[in-house]
C-alpha cells in the first residue's frame, strides 16, 4: 500500500470506487433526478399535456382502437405504454383523467425538491448548532441541547402533522416574510426543523470529542479566536460526517415528506408529490393498482439509492464506523476492535 502518498479524501474516493453497490446506487439516483428533470420535455413532446390538465371526456387511439380515458363508470384507463405514442403511458390517474406519467414526473420534482432543500437546511442548522453546543459547552450547550431534546420528545410524524396542519390553514408570516399556506416552503421548513435534532446530536458529540484533541489545543495556544477554531479547525474534521449525514438525511426527509403528504399534512393542492399521489392511488388499489405502486416504488427507489450510497460513503470516509449495513464478507471483523 502506498497509503502515505494519498490524502484521506483520495483514499476515501478509492474505497468508494471499489464499492460497486454504492456506485450503482449513485447511478440510480442520478437517473431518477434526470427522469424528473425531463418532466417538461416528456409533457410537451410525448404526452402533449400538463400534470394538472384533465381529460375526463376525451378519447384516445390505442394501437388503432379508440378508447375512453375515463369510462362511464369513472374508471381511468390503465397503462397503455407506447400504444398512444406515449400519451397516457401509465394510464390516467383518476376520474379526472390526468396523465399519470406526467404527474409522476412532476410529482417527483416536488418530492426531490423538498427532500434536497430541507436536507440542506437541516444540515446547515445541525452543523451550526452542533458546533456551537460542542465548542462552547456550558450554558450554550445546555440551552441548545435542551431545545433539541424538546423537539425530540415529539414523535417525528406527529410533530410534522401538527405543524403542517396549523400552517396549512393560514400560512406563515414572520416580519416581512410571508408564506402562503400551500407554498412548498412550509413542508420544507417543517421537515428541516423536525429532523434537525437527529443530526445535531451526533455532530455535537463529535465536536466534543474533537475539542479534546491536541490540534485544538495548539490553535488555542497560537491565539486563535473561537470562530477561527470552529470554522478552520473543527469544521474540516467534520466534513466527512456531515456529507454522510446529508446524504442519509435527504432519504429520511423524503420519507417524512411522503408520509406527511400521504396524510394531507405535507404539500397542499395544487402541488402534488409522490406521497400525495400514493394517497389518491390507494383509493383505487384494487382496480388500478399502478396508481399507488408507481409513485410508491419511485419513493422506495430514491430513498433506497440514497441510503445505500450514503452507507457506502460512510464506509469509504470512515472505515472504522461502528454500525454499517453492509455485510462483512470474508474474515470476521468485529466493529470496535478493528484497527
Amino acid at each position: 500500500m502506498s497509503s502515505e502518498r494519498h490524502g484521506p479524501w483520495s483514499l476515501a474516493y478509492r474505497r468508494l470506487r471499489r464499492n460497486r453497490l454504492a456506485l450503482a446506487s449513485l447511478a440510480l439516483f442520478v437517473l431518477i433526478v434526470a427522469f424528473v428533470l425531463a418532466a417538461p420535455l416528456w409533457a410537451d413532446h410525448v404526452a402533449h399535456t400538463g400534470p394538472n390538465a384533465t381529460h375526463t371526456t376525451e378519447k384516445i387511439v390505442v394501437d388503432g382502437e379508440t378508447r375512453e380515458v375515463v369510462d362511464v363508470e369513472g374508471k381511468p384507463i390503465g397503462p397503455v405504454w407506447f400504444g398512444a405514442g406515449g400519451e397516457f403511458f401509465l394510464g390516467a390517474d383518476s376520474g379526472l383523467g390526468r396523465d399519470e406519467m406526467v404527474r409522476l414526473m412532476y410529482g417527483g420534482r416536488t418530492s426531490l425538491m423538498i427532500g434536497l432543500s430541507s436536507a440542506l437546511i437541516t444540515t446547515l442548522l445541525a452543523t451550526a448548532l452542533g458546533l456551537l453546543a460542542g465548542y462552547f459547552g456550558g450554558r450554550t450547550d445546555s440551552i441548545i441541547s435542551r431545545t433539541l431534546d424538546l423537539i425530540w420528545s415529539f414523535p417525528v410524524v406527529l410533530l410534522g402533522i401538527a405543524l403542517g396542519t396549523a400552517l396549512a390553514v393560514g400560512g406563515l408570516k414572520i416580519g416581512p416574510l410571508e408564506v402562503e399556506g400551500n407554498s412548498l416552503w412550509i413542508p420544507i421548513l417543517i421537515i428541516a426543523v423536525v429532523m434537525t435534532p437527529y443530526m445535531a446530536r451526533p455532530i455535537r458529540g463529535e465536536v466534543l470529542a474533537l475539542r479534546q484533541k491536541e490540534f485544538v489545543e495548539a490553535a488555542v495556544a497560537q491565539g486563535a479566536g473561537s470562530l477561527r477554531i470552529m470554522f478552520a479547525e473543527l469544521l474540516p474534521n467534520l466534513w466527512s460526517t456531515v456529507i454522510v449525514f446529508f446524504t442519509l438525511n435527504i432519504a429520511n426527509n423524503m420519507l417524512l415528506e411522503s408520509a406527511l403528504s400521504y396524510l394531507g399534512a405535507g404539500v397542499q393542492p395544487p402541488n402534488s408529490s409522490w406521497g400525495k399521489m400514493v394517497s389518491t392511488g390507494v383509493e383505487l388499489i384494487y382496480t388500478a393498482p399502478i396508481l399507488a405502486f408507481a409513485p410508491g416504488l419511485m419513493i422506495l427507489l430514491t430513498v433506497l439509492s440514497l441510503n445505500v450510497f450514503g452507507d457506502g460513503l460512510r464506509s469509504a470516509l470512515d472505515p472504522k464506523s461502528k454500525l454499517r449495513l453492509e455485510a462483512h464478507t470474508g474474515t470476521v471483523e468485529p466493529a470496535g476492535t478493528a484497527v
Binding site: 414572520i174 399534512a265 433506497l304
Partner: protein, 319 residues
C-alpha cells in the same frame, strides 16, 4: 436507584411542561391568521369563529389562553369543530385498537429482530447475514404505505387470504382480532426487524471481544451458554433503550398511516381523518398526548435501563 428514579422523574415533569408550551405555541401562536379561524377549519362561518374566540379566550393575555387550552384538553371538554364530537372521548375509544396494533407489531419485530440478530452474529457473513442486510436497508427505505398497499393488493385482493382491514375488539373474538391485525402488525414490524437485527448483531460482535466472554470460555462453559448467557444478555441492554424510543414513536405517530390504510379505527386513524378535514382540536390533543406518552415512556425506559446497568446510575450521580 431511588434517587436516580426521582431525579429522572423530576426532569420528566419539566419536559412535560415544556411540551405543553410548545404544543400551545404551535396551534395558538403561529403567526398569521387568527387562531380561532385556524381551529375552526377552512370553511368556517363568522359565527363559529366568534364563538371559538370567546370560548378559548383568544382576547385574553397569553397565560390565560394557555391555561384555558390545557384545561380544555385535560378536562375532556375539547370539542372538534368538524363533527362537533368530544375529542377526548374519541381518543379513548381509539386506544384499544392502537395499542393492539403497536404491542403486537412490537412483539413481532423484537422476536424476529433478536432471533435473526443472534443467528447472524453466530455466522457473520453467512447467507442469513446477507439477507438481513437487504431486509434492514429495505426496511429503513420502505414507506409504510407502500408495504401496506402491496399487502392489500397481493394478500387481500389477489389471494384473498386476509381481510382488507377493520378492527375486531379482543374481548369480542380473540381469533378474529388477531386475524384482522396480522397484516397491519407485519407492515409495522417488517420496517424494523432488519434494523434491530443489525444493531443486535453489531452489539454482539462487540461483546464477543470482551474479557468476561474470554473468562466464560476459560471456565469451560459450552459455546451455546457463552453466547446466550453472556454475549446475548449483555448485548440486549442497548436494545432496551432503542426499543423504548421506537415503540413510543410508533405509538405516537408511525402507526397513523398503517391505521388509516387498514381502517383500524384507532387514535391514528382519528388523527388522519382530522387532517383531511383540517380539524385542528383533535390534532392538538393527539399531539399533546403523543408527546406526553413519549416523554413518560422514555423516563420509564431510562429507569429500567439504569436498573439493568448500574454503571448508568453511577455515571448520572457522579455528574
Amino acid at each position: 436507584m431511588a434517587r436516580f428514579a426521582l431525579r429522572r422523574l423530576a426532569g420528566m415533569v419539566v419536559v412535560l411542561f415544556a411540551v405543553s408550551l410548545v404544543t400551545f405555541a404551535i396551534f395558538n401562536l403561529i403567526p398569521n391568521s387568527d387562531p380561532a379561524q385556524r381551529l375552526a377549519g377552512k370553511n368556517a362561518d363568522a359565527v363559529l369563529v366568534k364563538s371559538i374566540e370567546e370560548d378559548w379566550g383568544f382576547d385574553e393575555p397569553l397565560p390565560v389562553q394557555y391555561w384555558e387550552t390545557m384545561k380544555k384538553i385535560f378536562s375532556g371538554e375539547l370539542i372538534s369543530y368538524g363533527d362537533q364530537l368530544n375529542v377526548d372521548e374519541k381518543i379513548v375509544e381509539g386506544i384499544p385498537a392502537t395499542f393492539s396494533l403497536c404491542i403486537g407489531a412490537a412483539a413481532i419485530w423484537l422476536f424476529f429482530g433478536i432471533l435473526f440478530g443472534y443467528l447472524s452474529a453466530l455466522k457473520p457473513g453467512g447467507w442469513l447475514d446477507r439477507v438481513l442486510t437487504v431486509v434492514a436497508i429495505a426496511g429503513i427505505s420502505l414507506p409504510a404505505f407502500l408495504l401496506a398497499a402491496i399487502f392489500l393488493y397481493l394478500l387481500t385482493f389477489k389471494l384473498e387470504l386476509f381481510p382488507a382491514g377493520g378492527y375486531v375488539p379482543l374481548t369480542e373474538d380473540p381469533v378474529d382480532w388477531a386475524y384482522h391485525l396480522i397484516l397491519p402488525w407485519f407492515t409495522l414490524a417488517i420496517l424494523n426487524i432488519g434494523f434491530y437485527s443489525r444493531v443486535l448483531r453489531s452489539n454482539m460482535l462487540d461483546a464477543m471481544n470482551e474479557d468476561y466472554v474470554r473468562t466464560a470460555r476459560a471456565k469451560g462453559l459450552s459455546e451455546r451458554r457463552v453466547m446466550t448467557r453472556h454475549v446475548l444478555r449483555n448485548s440486549l441492554i442497548p436494545i432496551v433503550s432503542l426499543f423504548g424510543l421506537d415503540f413510543a414513536a410508533m405509538l405516537g405517530g408511525g402507526a397513523i398511516i398503517v391505521e388509516s390504510i387498514f381502517g383500524l379505527n384507532g387514535v391514528g386513524q382519528y388523527a388522519a381523518e382530522s387532517i383531511t378535514n383540517l380539524d385542528l382540536p383533535p390534532i392538538m390533543a393527539i399531539t399533546m398526548f403523543g408527546a406526553f406518552f413519549v416523554v413518560l415512556f422514555s423516563a420509564v425506559t431510562d429507569i429500567f435501563y439504569a436498573y439493568l446497568d448500574p454503571r448508568i446510575r453511577l455515571e448520572a450521580s457522579a455528574r
